[in-house]
Point group: C2
Amino acid sequence: MTKLARFLPILDWGRRYDRTTFSNDAVAAVIVTIMLVPQSLAYALLAGLPPEAGIYASIAPIVLYAIFGTSQALAVGPVAVVSLMTATAVGQVAEQGTAGYAAAALTLAFLSGAFLLALGALRLGWLANFLSHPVIAGFITASGVLIATSQLKHILGVQAGGHNLIEMVGSLIAHLGQVNAPTLVIGAGATAFLFWVRKGLKPLLLRAGLPPLAADILSKAGPVAAVAVTTAITALLDLGAAGVAIVGQVPQGLPPLTMPDFAPDLVAQLALPAVLISIIGFVESISVAQTLAAKRRQRIDPDQELIGLGAANLGAAFTGGYPVTGGFARSVVNFDAGAQTPAAGAFTAGGLLMASLFLTPLIHDLPKATLAATIIVAVLGLVDLSILRRTWRYSRADFAAVAATIALTLLAGVETGVASGVALSVALHLYKTARPHVAEVGLVPGTQHFRNVRRHKVETAPNLLTLRVDESLYFVNARFLEDMVLSRVGEGGAVSDVVLMMSAVNEIDFSALETLEELNRRLRDMGVRLHLSEVKGPVMDRLRRSHFLDELTGKVFLSQWDAWRELARPAQGGARAAR
Amino acid sequence: MTKLARFLPILDWGRRYDRTTFSNDAVAAVIVTIMLVPQSLAYALLAGLPPEAGIYASIAPIVLYAIFGTSQALAVGPVAVVSLMTATAVGQVAEQGTAGYAAAALTLAFLSGAFLLALGALRLGWLANFLSHPVIAGFITASGVLIATSQLKHILGVQAGGHNLIEMVGSLIAHLGQVNAPTLVIGAGATAFLFWVRKGLKPLLLRAGLPPLAADILSKAGPVAAVAVTTAITALLDLGAAGVAIVGQVPQGLPPLTMPDFAPDLVAQLALPAVLISIIGFVESISVAQTLAAKRRQRIDPDQELIGLGAANLGAAFTGGYPVTGGFARSVVNFDAGAQTPAAGAFTAGGLLMASLFLTPLIHDLPKATLAATIIVAVLGLVDLSILRRTWRYSRADFAAVAATIALTLLAGVETGVASGVALSVALHLYKTARPHVAEVGLVPGTQHFRNVRRHKVETAPNLLTLRVDESLYFVNARFLEDMVLSRVGEGGAVSDVVLMMSAVNEIDFSALETLEELNRRLRDMGVRLHLSEVKGPVMDRLRRSHFLDELTGKVFLSQWDAWRELARPAQGGARAAR
C-alpha cells in the first residue's frame, strides 16, 4: 500500500473493483436506499430541521466517506443521538423553523468536520478512549429515553416542549387535553405496526419458508410500508385538514450548495457542542466499523476514520445537511445485504439523489406521527438498562459512572451528561490508582521466590522489610507508598533495611522520584537503609539520569534473592507463619 | 492511645509533660518569638493588611494547632506564599486599606479553615497528592519571583502596581522617576545586610568559635537587628517626614475578637481561592511536618493535620488574622532550638502576645522598606530554577508541567497557575498511561520462563501469540490493547491462539472487561481463540461475576508454562532468534 493510498483508501480497493463486486454493491445499495428514505426524513424531524435536510445529509457525506474512510461497509448519515445533540446545540442559538436554525446546523456540521479532520491529522483518535464504556452506555440509553419522549408530542399531535425529561413529561401532561384524535390513531397504529414488524414479522416470514436474509431485509422495509400506507390514508381522507401534522411541501431537486454561517459569536457558542458531537459520533461510528471489519478479518485505521468522518461532515455543511456519522442500523443492513466496498455507499447516494429528485412530491401528505413512530421504535432499541445491573455486579465505581451519566443526561441535558460522565470516570480512575497495590513479601521456603506474607507461608527476617510495589509510581500514589513505608518502619521493631521490589513498576515520574529521595532521607534519619531490587531496564536508565542512585543509602539488587542473601538475618525461630 | 487522644493529640503528650520538656520548649519559644515579630509584620504587609494582623495571625492559630495538630515542632502562622495568595484573592473583592479588605481576609481564613476541617473529617487528605512535585516546585518558585518583585516598590518608595510579572515590572519602570532616595538607601542597605547575614554571618561566627547552634540562631536574628537599626535611624533623622513610608500607629493590646463577613456574594467569590489556599498551605505544612518528624522517628497523621490547620485558620478568622499554615523557616528554627512538644508553640504565642501588648509603640517608625527587605531575602530562598533543568533531564512530561506552571503563575496569576498545573499533570499522566506496556513474549529455552521477544533469545510458536500486559486495564488503555492484538493477528501468519499473560494486571475495569469481550468475539470471527494466563486472584474473582469466562473461546491457564505446553506447536526450525 503506497503512502497516498493510506490517505485515500479508494486507490487501494478501486484498483481491484470488478463485475461481481459491482453487482454485490449495487444490490446492497438498493436495499439500504429503501431503508434510508424514511429514516433520513425522521431524523431531520428529530434534529428540528426540514425533512429534506435528512436526505441531503445522506448524499454528499456518504460519497466523501467512500473516498476517505477505511471501513468497507460503514454507512454514513444522520443518526438518532447526533440528531438529538444537534437539536439541543442549535436550539440554544436559534429558533426552530427559522433560516438561522438551518444555517447554524450547517455551522455545527462544519465545526464537527474541521475538528474531526484536525484530530485525524494529529493522529489523536485515542482521545476518544476517554469516553469509558459505562459513560457511553449510560449516555446512549438516556438519549434513547429522551428521544422517544421528545417524539410523543408528534404521536399525540400536541405542541409540547421541554429541555429535559421532567419538563418534557410535564409539558405532555399539560397538553393532554389538546390531543388530536386522528393523529393519535395514525401514530399509535404506526408504532404498534413497527414494533410488530421488528419482533414478529421475521419469525413469521421464516416459518413461511423465506430464506433468512430475505426475511431480514423484508422486515427492515417495515418503515417504508408504514410511510406508504399512512401517507395514502392521510391523502385520501384529507386528514391534513383535520389537524394531522403533515410533512408538506418538500423541495424537489439536487442537494443545494450551502454556506455555513461563520459569525464569530455563533462559532464560539457552537464550538463545544461540535466537539462533543464529533467525539460521540466518532465513538459510535468506529465501534460499528470495527465490529463489521472483524467479521471479515479486516482492519480499521481509527485516525483515517477521523479523516473520513471529517470529510463527510464538511460535505454535509456545504450541501444543506447537518452533523452525520456512521450509523449502526444502516451499516449492519448494508453489510448483511452484501456490500463489499465503499462503492455500495456511493450507489446508495445515487439512490437517495433519485429520491430527492423524483419522490419528494409523494411525501407531501406523510404524517409527522409516522416519522415519530419510526424514531421511537428505532431508539428504544438503544435503551439498555441492564448496564446498571451489570456494572453494579462488576464494580461499584463503574456503576456510579453509569448512574450519574444517565441521571445527568436525563435531567441536565445531553452535553452536561456526557461531559460530567467523562470527568467522573477520570476522577474515579485516579481515585482507584491513588493507593498503589503494595504487598509485604517473604521467601517461599526452599525456593528463590518471594510471595505476599498475607497469603503464603513464607520466611521473613525481623531486620528486613521487603515491599513489592505492584503499580507504576506517579504523583498521585507515590506519597502513599512513602507513608506506608514510614508507618511500617515507625511501628518499631528492629528493621534496619527496607527493600522495594520494583518488578511491576513500569514508570517512576519526577514526583515519585522526589518522593523516593525523600523516603531515602527520612529512613536515613531513622537509621534505616533503603534498597531496590528487580528494577526494570527503562526505569533504571531514567534513575541514572538523576542523583537518586548516588544518594541511596542501600544498593540496587538485580534480584530479590540477591537482596535476601546479603541482607536477611533471620530470627531464631526460622520461618514465620503467614499472618 | 485512646480514640479521643487521636483527635486531641494534646491528651497524649500533655500527660507526659515534665520539667525538662518545659525548659526545652521555653527556650525554643523565646528564639522563635524573636524571629517571628518582624516576619509576621512583613507578611501582613505582603498580604495587604495592617502589620498587627500578622502578629494576631500567629497567636490563636499557634495555640489551636498545639491542641489539635500532630507535629511536635511545626510552627503555624502567616507564610509568604499564602500571604501572596491572600492579597490576590482579597484584592479581587475589596480595596487595600479599607475595612472591607480586612473583613474579607477574615472570611477567607474562615472558609479555608472550614474546608480543611471538612477534608480532615472526611479523611480526604490524599487529595493533596494531586499537586505533583513539578507543579508545587514551579508554583513556589514563580510565587517567590512574584513576591520579590511586588516588594521592590517598597524598596524604591514608589506607588507601583500590577497583577502579573509583566505589569509589575512595567509599572516599576514607569515610576522610576519618583524614587525616594532615603527609602532606597534604607531598603537596599537592609537587603544587603540581610543577604550577608544569611550567607556570610554564620561562617564568621563559627570561625569566631561559637557553637554551631548558637551561630545558627544568632544569624536568624538578623531581621530583628535590621528592624531595630533602621527604626532607630528613621526615628532619629525623622525620615518619615522625608517621604520614607513607615508602619505608623499600631494598636496596642490583645488580639481583637472579630467576626468574618458572611455575605453570600463574598463567600461565593472567595470559595475557590480558599480551596486553593487551603491545599497549597496543607501541602507546604505537611511536607515540613513530615521532614521534622522523620528526624525523630515520629509519625504525622495527615488527616489529623487537616484538623489542626483547619482549627488554626478558624482561630485566625475570629481574632483579626488571615489564612495561616505551617511555615518552613519558623518550624525549622523551632525544631533546631530544641522544641519538644506543641507547648513550645503555645509559649511562642505567649511571647507574641507580650509583643502585641507592649512592643507595638516601638515600631511606629519602622520603615516598610525594611519589612520588604525581610520578605525579599526570605522568598528568594524559595526560588529554585534548577527544577527546570532537573525535570528536563529526567522526563519531558514533568518538565512541561513545571514550565507551564511557572509561566502561567507569573503571567496569569497564582490561582490560574496552580489550577492549570494540576489539570496539566492529570492530563499528562493519562496520556502516558493511554498506551499500556505490552510485550510479546516467548519461552527462554530450557526453562519455564517467558521473556520479551525483542530483548531475549526465546522460542516462539507460529500458531501462538503470547502478550504480557504490564499494566492494569482501564477505559483509556483497553482499546489500545485490543487494537494491538487485532493488528498483530491481522498481519496474517497462522496464529490460531492468543494468550494474554496477566501477571501484572491488578485491575480490569468494566470498560476493559467489555473490550476483552469484544476482542474475544472479534478473534472468534477470525477463527482465533483467546486465552488468559496467570490472572491474579482479585481480578479472577471479579471476572467470575461477569459472563466473560463463559464466552471465552479459550481457557484460563494458571501459568504461562501450562498454556505453552498445551497450545504451542513450534515451527520446524525450533528456537527463533530474538528480533
